[in-house]
């Protein structure tokens, strides 16, 4: 039996905009087990990204409970949340956010330099980063400026950065949203590979082709999880995608 890494119960998130209450998430509950790769899908404005940022501790919840690795993140202060994000979580964003004054490899090792989780020398960190880059096929861009590499290479560098502190789980917000199809496939290949090596992933996507690579899909509408779909990953990708699309149509996509 696999362990639950993320346990979300009755999660609510409300924004007050111009004195009007906007309930973005309404009593959302779900669990993610270790080694899973879960996609969150839903129409624009349904609360997908808010869900991702709230369960990962980047944003505060209004009500409910989120346990990450057995810790209730609502009870943690900002510093403890930051430490959790640094040591136990990895993040990949739609836009390839990087520190513009750092080279590609420096951006990758930055979380490791900041963290005291892994006791190693700077040289060892760099060596580990190079290994990760090698695995993701971007080792030749290590010393480049971030302006000097393509979007796909940059997103893979972001994946390396999210992996550098050996996190328990990676959160990805539309990781292929800003990429062309070829780059998108490359990035998803890498994420799938990471998952197959044991890393838990939760990603937000609009793209059923991306979601079809996951083990499970949560479909969210108006801040509620409307349905959940388990994907049989042993099937060919094209079949998985077709079946997922059919399910999404049933859900009203």
């Amino acid at each position: 039996m696999t362990n639950t890494i993320l346990d979300v119960k009755d999660l609510c998130k409300t924004y007050i905009i111009n004195k009007r209450q906007n309930n973005v998430l309404r009593n959302v509950s779900f669990q993610i087990s270790e080694g899973e790769m879960v996609a969150v899908m839903g129409p624009s404005g349904s609360g997908k990204s808010t869900l991702l940022y709230t369960v990962s501790g980047m944003d505060r919840m209004t009500a409910g409970k989120v346990d990450f690795c057995g810790k209730d993140i609502s009870s943690l202060n900002d510093n403890a949340l930051a430490k959790m994000r640094l040591d136990d979580m990895g993040f990949i964003f739609q836009q390839m956010y990087m520190m513009k004054n750092l080279s590609v490899i420096d951006n990758i090792i930055l979380p490791a330099v900041k963290s005291d989780k892994i006791k190693e020398s700077r040289k060892e960190t760099v060596s580990r980063a190079r290994e990760l880059m090698q695995k993701l096929g971007i080792s030749d861009t290590a010393d480049n400026d971030i302006n000097e590499v393509s979007g796909g290479q940059l997103q893979r560098a972001c994946i390396c950065r999210s992996m550098i502190n050996r996190p328990q789980m990676i959160f990805a917000d539309e990781p292929t949203g800003a990429l062309n199809r070829a780059s998108s496939d490359e990035v998803m290949d890498e994420l799938e590979k990471l998952n197959s090596e044991g890393t838990t992933l939760m990603l937000v996507t609009h793209d059923s082709k991306v979601a079809a690579r996951c083990s499970r899909v949560l479909f969210i509408v108006d801040g509620n999880i409307k349905g959940e779909y388990n994907i049989k990953r042993e099937k060919p990708l094209r079949d998985r995608e077709r079946e997922l699309n059919n399910w999404l149509l049933e859900m009203g996509w």
Partner: protein
């Protein structure tokens, strides 16, 4: 649309716009008040002298001598158009008491006169001419009232040779010729009845009678010639020389003016940054405006409109703020003067308009950046697709620094232009204060002893009662000095005393004549004094000449000059030229072996006391207090105190230094706030990213603050290195006006200069950056999803 964009800008960038407004207000306020100040002081000296009735030459003659009266010589000269005279009694500090106690800061010489015998015009505190003084009352020089803390209603006792008057202080008088910082010799205006009581004393009449002459002539040489034929000239000034005595006031005004120009320069730097950032941030709006066909000039006009608005509001506020501020500055510059100019409002308006115009010109050139942005920027989030520019300059992989330290240092090095401008601004702020600190310290140190014309002693006892006795041949210098030595020995302070005497002589060379004050002391080695060029006089017929005197008569080292002294003309060889602020450089020194009639001495310096037992500084200061009690005077100094008292400038410079310090700190804080806000706004995405990957709030704040600390630390180091050459560059011309033509060695307070000021600058930068960086707490990790 323009209005909406402007409204949005003003709402979104409230703090930044407010700080720019503050800079414009400060610039306009300082510019208007300083220009008005300069005009008032520069033109004001002439205006004040005219109002006071000063003509071309001013002379004080002692009527106690046997020589021919100056009035007869002036009457006989065809070159003298006219003259007026006013009699007075010359006294000294020891004859004065305030409320029964010591009167502080009286200066060495004071004048007592009757209100009905004034030929000059003296002004009261409301700048109204003084016409009469009631019996039992006295009006006195403004600078003395300020320095000695004398208030209306206080009792002032004048005791001249036993003739004692208790008078009530009725108000201040502004004296155009002898009332400023450099020449101040307190003047006491009495009622005719009170004056008559003093005058009735035989000793007073015999020893203290003097007359000041206000002479109108186009030929100063005619006056010099008359003076050379008459004994007893105590003081003589041409009108131009009187104007130079206001150098301290003018210098203070000039320093304030320099500070205001500096402020304006800072405002421009700040504006340049802000406009640059604003345009960078608004690439999308600018791109869209260009995409829909709005011309570059129209877009630039939009920004210009905004800054025109800020500049107009700021300069109007600055104009009005300049009125009280200018008055405050003017009072500090010339509280002893009747100052003002005819067009203060017009000057204020012109200065404020100039600030607006310069800001607009500057804005127009800054907004040229708009041309570089294209519609494609709106589509590509400010990226044009060009990928040539390298941003980074350090490698985290190869660095040993921790993450925050590395990010801060890397940011500083990766933005060299921005860092350089900030470094220059912080350096200038620190440097300005350091230069003024060094100047004020030098003015109150014994570095300047030589330009007063004396040498270092343990204590300087500035009493002059014996001068009159020497002049009247009651005592000799040796006798006076022995008396002091005996008195101090009886009180356990065995010592050697010597006294420098001033002698009024007429120096002639190549047909040019100058009335100079020559220093002479038979008890010192003439070689011990400092000379600018040549070699010290070694024989009785050799002299050293002040640079100003040498220039006036066209003499140089090696020349032979004729000097009329003791009523006879003798030839002397000029062997050296010397820096001196005595008589503003119109001076000289006889060799110690030269024999002179001591009774012709017109004044003396303080008695210089050197203790036989070589005491340490602490003991010297204890003895100073003891000597004050013995002689019932507060005019006892150590060497630094004596210089400070003689130059009377350190207080004014220290005041400007404190004002500059406050302004510098204000500027540093404002700039740190403004730029940190701009950085936060520009780096919002990076801050959110740092937080998303696990940086704590305090790490982000520390990174931001550290950038400023690095720049400030570099700045204070540069400022410390440049402080010495910068002080020489800026202050040498000023000291040259005081008589130190060849420059001087500046004194510094190391702890103040290299510890306190750097710490103040660092603290101001840190405080400004820190409190602004706290706003990064509002940027959340989840903002990564909202950033464009």
């Amino acid at each position: 649309m323009y209005f909406n964009i402007l409204k949005k800008d003003l709402r979104r960038k409230k703090t930044v716009n407010l700080i720019i407004l503050v800079f414009v207000i400060l610039s306009a306020m300082f510019f208007s008040s300083s220009v008005n100040n300069i005009v008032s002081v520069m033109g004001g000296v002439d205006r004040f002298l005219d109002m006071a009735g000063m003509k071309d030459y001013f002379v004080i003659m002692s009527e106690s001598g046997d020589g021919e009266p100056l009035s007869r010589l002036l009457d006989e000269s065809d070159e003298i158009k006219g003259y007026e005279s006013e009699p007075f009694l010359l006294g000294d500090a020891e004859m004065l008491r305030l409320n029964g106690g010591i009167m502080e800061n009286t200066g060495s010489m004071c004048m007592v006169m009757s209100a009905d015998e004034m030929c000059m015009t003296y002004f009261d505190k409301n700048d109204e001419p003084i016409t009469s003084v009631d019996e039992g009352k006295v009006m006195l020089t403004a600078s003395l009232a300020a320095k000695a803390d004398i208030k209306e209603g206080d009792t002032i006792t004048i005791d001249m040779f036993g003739e004692k008057l208790d008078l009530e202080m009725a108000g201040i008088c502004k004296d155009a010729i002898l009332g400023n910082e450099m020449t101040d010799s307190p003047r006491f205006i009495l009622s005719p009845a009170d004056y008559a009581k003093l005058y009735s004393n035989e000793t007073v009449r015999r020893t203290s009678r003097c007359v000041s002459y206000i002479i109108e002539t186009d030929n100063a040489d005619a006056v010099e010639k008359a003076l050379s034929s008459s004994d007893g000239c105590i003081l003589d000034f041409s009108r131009s020389l009187v104007k130079i005595t206001y150098v301290i006031g003018i210098s203070v005004a000039a320093i304030v003016m320099a500070v205001s120009l500096f402020l304006i320069a800072i405002s421009f730097v700040v504006l340049r940054f802000t406009i640059g950032f604003t345009i960078q941030e608004e690439f999308r709006e600018i791109g869209v405006m260009k995409a829909i066909g709005i011309k570059n000039s129209s877009i630039r006009l939009l920004y210009l409109t905004k800054y025109l608005g800020i500049a107009l509001i700021g300069s109007v506020i600055g104009f009005f703020a300049a009125i009280p501020f200018g008055k405050m500055l003017l009072d500090s510059v010339g509280g002893n003067m009747v100052l003002g100019n005819d067009q203060p409002v017009l000057i204020g308006i012109l200065c404020s308009a100039a600030v607006v115009a310069v800001i607009l010109i500057f804005c127009w050139s800054c907004t040229s950046k708009v041309k570089k942005l294209s519609p494609i920027d709106a589509v590509r989030n400010g990226q044009t697709g060009e990928r040539f520019r390298k941003h980074r300059s350090m490698s985290l992989s190869r660095s040993r620094l921790r993450a925050s330290g590395f990010l801060a240092l890397n940011d500083v090095l990766s933005n060299p232009k921005q860092s350089a401008i900030l470094t220059i601004v912080f350096t200038l702020c620190a440097l300005l204060v350091m230069v003024l600190s060094s100047t004020s310290k030098t003015l109150a140190s014994d570095e300047l002893l030589y330009i007063i014309g004396t040498t270092k002693s343990d204590v300087y006892l500035d009493i002059h009662s014996s001068t009159r006795e020497i002049q009247n041949e009651i005592k000799t210098f040796s006798e006076v000095e022995s008396e002091i030595e005996d008195t101090l020995a009886e009180n356990g302070m065995p010592c050697k005393v010597y006294t420098e005497g001033f002698y009024s002589v007429s120096v002639e060379s190549g047909g040019n004549t100058s009335t100079c004050r020559f220093l002479y002391c038979p008890d010192t080695d003439t070689a011990d004094y400092v000379y600018g060029s040549g070699t010290p006089p070694q024989y009785p017929n050799e002299i050293a000449l002040g640079y100003a005197a040498a220039k006036e008569i066209g003499a140089d080292v090696g020349d032979t000059v004729d000097i009329t002294v003791n009523g006879k003309k003798e030839q002397f060889i000029v062997t050296a030229l010397m820096d001196s602020m005595s008589n503003l450089g119109k001076c000289g020194r006889f060799h110690s072996s030269y024999e002179i009639d001591e009774s012709s001495v017109i004044n003396t310096m303080a008695h210089q006391i050197t203790f036989n037992d070589h005491p340490d500084d602490k003991t010297i200061h204890e003895r100073i207090e003891k000597i004050k009690d013995i002689y019932f005077t507060n005019r006892v100094f150590d060497s630094a105190g004596y210089v400070d008292d003689s130059t009377k400038a350190s207080g004014a410079v220290a005041g400007v230094k404190d004002l500059t310090m406050i302004l510098s700190v204000l500027i540093i804080i404002l700039i740190s706030i403004l730029l940190e806000r701009s950085f936060i706004s520009r780096e919002k995405a990076e801050i959110a990213l740092e937080k998303a990957i696990g940086f704590k709030n305090r790490s982000v704040i520390w990174t931001h603050v550290l950038r400023f600390i690095i720049i400030a630390a570099v700045s204070v180091v540069i400022a410390a290195l440049l402080s010495s050459p910068a002080t020489e560059l800026i202050m040498d011309p000023l000291f040259a006006l005081l008589g130190a033509v060849k420059g001087l060695k500046y004194d510094i307070a190391p702890v103040e200069m290299f510890v306190i000021y750097p710490l103040i600058v660092l603290s101001a930068v840190t405080a400004g950056a820190f409190f602004t960086a706290l706003s990064t707490n509002r940027i959340k990790a989840s903002d990564t999803s909202n950033i464009e």
